[in-house]
């Protein structure tokens, strides 16, 4: 059983999804989905433990050896991502049953859980697999269910946001498909490890160069790198609150994983950073993303929009860490990936609680909420502090490593800009604090009560995780460092 964990990680949610159809009662389906997600979390914890004890796990599907068969390869990087995805998915699902009561029509509840599990399975598949074409298939499984999940939003703008995401996402995925095709044409293999061995022989050809360009653009579309981020704000703002909490913490992270996997493991460090001016390109786009998105966040009227723009800015930090292209830089990226998942899931889940109580996420409706929903608002404040990068929160740890990495490389101006970017985060977080704590409650809002326990427990689990991993950084830093070092050492 233990030897089959890599495939169980993906197959359990994938098989569980259609089974939901047999359970018609909303509560029953919810419990089932929660169990499945919890099981996936258990599997990913065991996998991480196995990787820490005995190194990379190689699992051949059906016993067919790679490169003929498909293999799943779990190293530190994969195990970290799997853990983040399953942990967030499970915690978010705890609140799902209450949250979707008002947001999704009753007859669609079962479908919601099916799509949720499919999306989860897709993301886990992208991370677990060691086969390039498999990545495309799982990418489409997770994306197609994501489009449908976003379209479940109550507002009609959810439909339009979903449609735009579908167009952009499909173009991105097709670009990746073209890139994989070109790589196959040159090497005759789809296995990632095998590709990394064979690509150096042909890396001077224009075909490989084109493949690399297609893959990079496709992945950057998926990870909402500025200026390819246009699909993200509306998709996050109008999706059902639970869906936003899940995707904000996981979907773009999976794309960051793909970027790291393709550049570092498959194409190799020396090719990736010389074929295209990736370093200059990413540091500029990353910083531009931080500033443009943070400024945009300051002017948003809808808090969901505000945090969606902040997500784009946080992607900017990850990309800057990536562009440093040293082990410390990559550690910062991976740490921020882990930490940002904790922050954004906590923030968006707390927002889901607010939407549950007041039915909207408009900033003008937040007046006086600090007294009416003290625990929820406190969670948003702590999440916000973490977003800024205040010490004792996770945000500080990743910013610290990012600053270290840029200084180590002698990139002083970048260090200064990163710190300035954090100041912008203070401004947009302050706007929420001001509305919630320093404005008198709106007329007719006397009846607003604190969110139910089904929200408070998962929200505060995440908030405590935000503080815990801000103080005790052993697990996150150790795994991120090990992953970064293995990427710089022998590929994959």
């Amino acid at each position: 059983m233990l030897t089959h964990l890599p495939i169980l990680q993906v197959i359990v949610p994938l098989m569980a999804a259609p089974l939901c159809l047999f359970l018609t009662r909303s509560r029953l389906v919810w419990l089932f989905a929660l169990t499945v997600s919890g099981l996936a979390f258990l599997i990913s914890s065991l996998l991480l433990q196995q990787v820490m004890n005995s190194g990379t796990i190689i699992y051949t599907l059906g016993g067919w050896d790679a490169p003929w068969g498909i293999e799943y390869r779990i190293d530190y990087l994969n195990a970290l991502l799997l853990l983040v995805i399953t942990a967030v998915s499970t915690v978010v699902l705890v609140a799902a049953h209450t949250s979707i009561q008002h947001e999704i029509p009753k007859d669609k509840h079962t479908l919601f859980y099916i799509l949720y599990l499919l999306s989860l399975a897709g993301m886990l598949g992208i991370v677990a697999t060691g086969d390039a074409f498999n990545v495309f298939v799982f990418l489409e499984i997770s994306s197609l269910s994501a489009y449908a999940l976003i379209a479940l939003g109550k507002d009609r703008r959810a439909l339009w946001a979903s449609y735009q995401y579908l167009i952009m996402g499909t173009i991105g995925a097709t670009f990746i498909l073209i890139g994989i095709g070109l790589m196959y044409q040159m090497t005759g293999t789809l296995n990632m490890y095998d590709l990394s061995q064979r690509l150096p022989e042909v890396e001077n050809s224009r075909t490989v160069f084109t493949a690399f360009a297609f893959v990079i653009v496709g992945v950057c579309l998926k990870l909402a790198l500025f200026p390819l981020h246009l699909w993200l704000p509306n998709a996050y703002a109008y999706a059902p609150s639970i869906v936003t909490a899940f995707f904000a913490a996981t979907a773009t992270k999976v794309a960051v994983y793909l970027l790291i996997r393709f550049t570092f493991s498959i194409f190799g460090l020396s090719f990736s950073f010389t074929a295209l001016p990736l370093q200059a390109l990413f540091v500029v786009l990353g910083l531009l993303g931080i500033f443009v998105a943070s400024f945009a966040a300051i002017y948003q009227k809808n808090v969901k929009h505000l945090f969606a723009y902040s997500s784009i800015a946080q992607i900017g930090y990850m990309i800057v860490g990536f562009s440093v292209s040293t082990a410390t830089g990559l550690t910062a990226t991976l740490l921020h990936l882990f930490n940002h998942a904790l922050m954004k899931s906590a923030l968006f889940l707390a927002l889901a609680a607010v939407v549950y109580r007041i039915g909207s996420a408009q900033l003008s409706q937040f007046h006086g909420l600090g007294r009416q929903m003290p625990f929820t608002m406190a969670a948003i404040v702590i999440g916000g502090l973490s977003l800024i990068g205040v010490p004792l929160t996770v945000g500080f740890v990743s910013k610290w490593y990012l600053v270290l990495a840029t200084i180590e490389n002698g990139w002083w101006p970048v260090t200064v800009l990163i710190l300035l970017g954090s100041l912008l985060a203070i401004v947009y977080v302050w706007r929420i604090v001001e509305a919630a704590y320093f404005k008198p409650p709106l007329a007719g809002s006397e009846g607003i009560k604190e969110a139910p326990m089904s929200f408070l427990i998962p929200v505060w689990t995440l908030v405590i995780a935000n503080i815990y991993f801000g103080i005790d950084t052993r697990l996150s830093v150790q795994v991120a460092q090990a992953a970064a070092q293995s990427l710089f050492g022998v590929s994959p």
Binding site: F133, F136, E140, R156, L166, I167, T170, T174
Partner: protein, 117 residues
């Protein structure tokens, strides 16, 4: 050289035609048509790539030494399924958008959204 690789030229032309339609047209159905053409060009690309000169269909038979590469064909079967799913979902969304907004023109939808804000 140019004639010998004509299927790749078709791939490039189709790809650009599809991509252009997606970007330039405001009609939601036309966008999906463009997206399908774009994806189809990639299917043709994979299938062309699998063709081995003088090779036959990859069915084991006596007296045949050379076969075309079956793997890209299989991959593209998967990609076609994905493409159909995408088209179906896109069209379904277009229907819902028509119901909710009363239009399938990008500009009109954007206008109505701006009024809502």
């Amino acid at each position: 050289m140019i004639l010998g690789l004509y299927n790749y030229w078709i791939v490039v032309v189709l790809m650009m035609v599809g991509f252009y339609i997606v970007i330039a047209h405001g009609n939601l159905i036309k966008k999906i048509v463009g997206l399908s053409i774009f994806q189809t060009s990639v299917f043709i690309f994979y299938i062309s790539m699998a063709k081995v000169d003088g090779g036959t269909a990859p069915i084991l038979a006596e007296g045949i030494q050379q076969y075309s590469n079956p793997l890209p064909h299989v991959l593209i079967l998967t990609a076609i399924v994905v493409g159909i799913a995408t088209t179906a979902l896109g069209l379904a969304l277009a229907v819902r958008i028509k119901e909710a907004y009363g239009s399938i023109e990008e500009e009109e939808i954007q206008e109505k959204d701006n009024l809502d804000c």
